[in-house]
Amino acid sequence: MRYYLTPEQEAFKTELAKFFKREIPLGYNDRIILEVDMSEEDFQRGLAFDKKLIEHGYYVMHWPKEYGGQSRSVIDQAIFNESYAYYDPPSISDRGRHVVGPGLMVIGTEEQKRRFLPAIARLEAITCLGWTEPNAGSDLSSIETKARLDGDEYIINGQKMFISNAHFATHIFMTALTDTSVPKRQGMSLFIVDMHSSGISVSPLITMDGKRINMVYFTDVRVPATNLVGEKNKGFQQLAATANHERIGIRANAPTAYKRVLDEFIEFIKNNKIRGRDLTKDPEVRHRLADVAMDLEAWRMIVWRLVWLQNQGQVPQAEASMVQLIRKKTIPKLHKLLWELGGPLSQLKEGSRWAIMNGKLEYYSQHAFNIHGQGGIAQTKNTIARRGLGLPRYQA
């Protein structure tokens, strides 16, 4: 039993802290950059920082050596994710290194691996995920997008919804039905598609917290048959394995991102009164902040438990869903608390001289509701109850 890092792991953590403190542009973390008004300059800054991670060998350090990584352990990867989330550097948040790349390693052909993995590892290919549709949210099997074989090409028609990064991605890793004569779970395939293909159009959807995601439309888009990834008509089963990578890679880093939010707020109230009061002296405020810090720590430990299991080669399902459940409960609790403590001032954005913390509290009031990714809360609980506790499905 050792619930802390080894000296070598501590040294890695220290190295990362130094790296992020040195490399993150001065003042970058003082304000919220909304993607909706993200300029070309903001995008380039994100890309430039991601390239720094590549230069220093951090970007795909969890990949096997043969694909350009360093075969670092899941534990090291988790240490990196914690630091990364806490220091919150600029990034374009590409889905390649955590989802598409690892997915291709498992199910891709040699040719696909050769073509895409080095490109993803160097960010020459930027990938987005095309899994969800207007009628396929929690139920990823109920898609309507179709891919019809025509010679040595597939012709894709349909639409994908809620697609992050589609407006700057070079490729989309997507699902489409390749056999419509059978139930959808037996007729789905995965494709990697060039976003510059003729017939693809992208239009924005703007989230409450000011992030741009997208609708992606496919009208007679011709895709070489060699871009079908994995086994034809086995896409749904292969997606399940890939989605596990999504949960691990993207969300495992999250608790420390919110610990940073809490730490910044505490630093702020130690140096500033809010609405004429020193909140650090108020016992109720102290207890509520401590309470949410405790939830963040429980979330962090539930992430670490997942990491520890994965480090032993396990693929835990219920334990992965627990991460989602506690995440979805803790983010709103933290943000609600902060904006309640800011009172009416929490409504003000950057630009008002009365805004608190450059309008960050206003942003949090909106971000609090960003709790739907990786399955809804009901679906998350179903997974925990059925796969973890062995409870039966309802049979009408």
Binding site: D295, M301, I384, A385, L389, Q395
Partner: protein, 372 residues
């Protein structure tokens, strides 16, 4: 990061679990409500013979050595198996205090007995404030020519009528320092039961001009609190482990029940409304267990652990309480009946939550570690 148990720890866990399963602790808990001792003397003897009571006490003093980790594993099993007995007050609190503060002669004299269970000690700490805090110790200790004269009232002394000795905390009326005194024959003192949810557990002990010779001070005079505080911290971690075990049992029995209880033509466990309650219970429980063992691991290795154990106690308190409520929801009226085991688990959670400080105390400690 290693969240696993060693094979030796797994063996300890499994053998305690097996033993308690065979002991029918529910029947014992029911009986203990009325028995004079307040616990099963028979099970206590057997556990002493098996060497478990001496976990945490070094081998040279008759214990089996081992660390806070094994103690926590044992306490999780105590919770899971609903074991109740004087171990916490005797071998743990008094044993650890004697170990930290006592002279070599006192260690030799006392620890063999508490490690085997043949001697039962109890800590007389709380008074009318009922707070585990230094300023709340008010019992007067007056120096005499060859010792001390103690006067005051101690509350919530556990299993006092079964105790062979008490360790009593008192305040030097001149210096204001806290000392620990051995009271060798507590049965001669006025002891009265404090009737409570837990039957024959808590006693009020009145000391009126009780004379204690100098050699019966444990540790140096006036200097005991610096040892009491860390032992209480370890104790809080063990209370967490016990509540985790209690919660695990409530979850297990609730899952089993939900699979077989049929209402409206279906097992209630096939309804999402019930599944979601169980998913919440399990997630809370796992958070509680992970924070508990994080605290145990930190404390056991001498790392600064203020934040970790304060978070553990506050989180486990609230998590276990919610698991208790949720278990009641799954069982419906049945779980509220004293014929059913559930109330005994729930009551034990109420005890653990209160014991050594409730959530408010630990939230304030967490706030301080946040820099507030």
């Amino acid at each position: 990061m290693d969240m696993g148990l060693s094979s030796e720890q797994v063996a300890i866990r499994d053998s305690i679990r097996k033993f308690l399963r065979a002991e029918n602790t529910i029947a014992v808990a029911r009986g203990a409500m009325k028995s004079p001792a307040g616990y099963s003397v028979d099970a206590w003897r057997k556990m002493g013979d098996l060497g478990w009571l001496g976990i945490g006490i070094p081998e040279q003093y008759g214990g089996s050595g081992l660390s806070l980790e094994e103690l926590a594993i044992m306490y999780e099993e105590f919770g899971r198996g609903l074991y109740q007995g004087p171990h916490f007050g005797s071998a743990f609190l008094c044993g650890q205090l004697v170990l930290k503060l006592g002279s070599e002669a006192q260690k030799q004299e006392l620890l063999h007995g508490v490690a085997s269970g043949r001697t039962i000690m109890s800590l007389a700490l709380l008074e009318e404030d009922a707070r585990w805090e230094e300023p709340s110790i008010k019992l007067c200790a007056q120096r005499t020519s060859d010792g001390w004269r103690l006067t005051g009232t101690k509350l919530f002394v556990t299993h006092a009528t079964a105790a062979d000795e008490l360790l009593c905390a008192g305040r030097d009326v001149e210096t204001g320092g806290i000392s620990l005194f051995r009271i060798r024959n507590p049965k001669a003192l006025p002891i009265s039961l404090m009737p409570s949810t837990f039957g024959n557990l808590y006693y009020e002990v009145i000391l009126r001009d009780v004379l204690v010779p100098d050699e019966d001070i444990v540790g140096s005079p006036d200097n005991a609190w610096s040892a009491v505080q860390p032992v209480l911290e370890w104790g809080a971690a063990l209370q967490c482990a016990e509540m985790v075990g209690l919660s695990q049992s409530i979850l297990d029995m609730s899952v089993d029940y939900a699979k077989v209880r049929v209402q409206f033509g279906h097992p209630i466990g096939s309804y999402q409304g019930i599944q979601h309650v169980l998913a919440d219970m399990w997630t809370r429980l796992d958070g509680a267990r992970l924070l508990t063992y994080q605290a145990v691991s930190f404390l056991n290795n001498g790392r600064p652990a203020q934040r970790e154990f304060a978070m553990a106690k506050a989180y486990v308190n609230e998590g276990a309480f919610q698991v208790a409520l949720d278990g009641m929801q799954i069982y419906g009226g049945l779980g509220y009946m004293m014929e059913h085991p559930l109330p005994y688990y729930v009551r034990r959670i109420l005890y653990g939550k209160m014991h050594l400080g409730d959530t408010d105390v630990y939230l304030e400690e967490v706030a301080q570690t946040l820099g507030l």
